[in-house]
């Protein structure tokens, strides 16, 4: 029993987790011809929340046809409860030596959990700024680019779409730039 619990709490190796992620693409196609993607939910939420008088045309469509995507997001929250609370890994993420060193150099301690306490500590105003800027860029960029990691990197590449290859390369160029240059600068300034 404890062995089973230990197993359920421990992380999956990439060669198990990766295929399980990839299977989402045919699963959603089979369930109802749905293209796997998550960021479109942000658009649907805007379409639901914005009052008609100030709604840009981009949000004028029948979001009810896209309810499946909102349900999927609801499922993601449930998944977070199951895997991140009930069966949370009690160990810190097992980073490579180099990765652990880099994280420490950023002034962040490697503790159990998915996001370091230093980046979720809302008593620090700099954390508000970091989370807000990050969210803003994610929301704007995913809609401008027409998708996120799931829509382009997983679904788009799986179905051999050239635009998705351009988007995925751009995701990585932006991410490499921000993780290596912007974040260290930000962490140094916020102290």
């Amino acid at each position: 029993m404890t062995e089973l619990l230990d197993f359920l709490r421990s992380p999956l190796p990439w060669y198990v987790g990766g295929p399980l992620i990839g299977l989402t693409v045919p699963l959603l196609l089979w369930l109802g011809n749905k293209g796997f993607g998550i960021s479109a939910n942000l658009r649907h939420a805007c379409a639901i929340l914005l009052p008609d008088a100030i709604k840009p045309s981009f949000f004028r469509y029948d979001w009810r046809n896209e309810r499946w995507n909102l349900m999927f997001a609801g499922g993601l929250i449930l998944g977070g409860i199951v895997a991140g609370v009930v069966l949370a890994n009690p160990e810190p993420t097992r980073l490579s030596a180099a990765g652990a060193g880099s994280v420490q150099a950023l002034g962040v301690q490697l503790r159990p959990g998915l996001v370091p306490a230093e980046l979720t500590n809302l008593s620090n105003p700099a954390v508000w700024l970091l989370l807000a800027v990050s969210g803003l860029l994610v929301g704007f960029g995913t809609r401008y680019g027409g998708g996120c990691t799931s829509g382009h990197a997983i679904t788009g590449l799986s179905t051999l779409q050239v635009p998705s290859l351009m988007a995925t390369v751009s995701f990585f160029v932006g991410g490499i730039l921000s993780a290596n240059v912007l974040l260290p600068l930000f962490m140094a300034v916020m102290g």
Binding site: N33, P56, N69, V115, F140, G141, G146, T159, S170, G174
Partner: protein, 158 residues
């Protein structure tokens, strides 16, 4: 792929509200599955994302790479099988719009955001479920970003 004819008696439009609800419930479970995998494979871990963008481990590259290869093979097999989706439609993949500007500029913008707080849209929801409440702030600003795109869409190169 040739379009197979519809099965008699199977309607592509939602037949009744009760059926729609059970039909939608399936996606809740699909999301639950994906959320669990995101956490268990550590794709939702800020630490892993930093490690990836610094090329300090193979973990995330193996994860994304094997996901793409699996998706490619299984989607091809599904389409070749001639199987219909559960609601009786021919399985088809919608092609992404042509062009390059939006993918490069939008992609870069998203990438910079992803590298900072280590969040892409899926993990925002999953981390919220895991009780990381500051993700509400990320979500609120992601909605603002989405709104700003909608408001300025016509002035941006696509």
């Amino acid at each position: 792929m040739t379009r197979t004819s519809q099965i008699p008696g199977v309607h592509t439009e939602p037949a009744s509200s009760a059926r729609t609800v059970t039909g939608l419930l399936v996606y809740l479970f699909a999301g639950l599955y994906f959320g669990v995998v995101l956490v268990k494979s550590e794709a939702a871990s800020w630490y892993r994302i930093q490690e990836m963008f610094r090329f300090e481990s193979f973990q995330m590259f193996g994860l994304i790479g094997s996901a793409v290869v699996t998706g490619m093979i299984t989607t091809m097999l599904l389409r070749r099988s001639g199987l219909n989706s559960l609601d009786g439609q021919t399985i088809r993949v919608t092609d992404k719009e042509k062009g390059w500007r939006r993918y490069v500029f939008g992609g870069l913008t998203f990438g910079v955001g992803w590298g900072l707080a280590g969040v892409c849209p899926g993990p925002i929801f999953t981390l919220l479920g895991a009780g990381i409440w500051p993700m509400l702030l990320v979500l609120a600003f992601a909605l603002l970003g989405t709104y700003l795109y909608g408001a300025f869409k016509d002035r941006l190169p696509h």
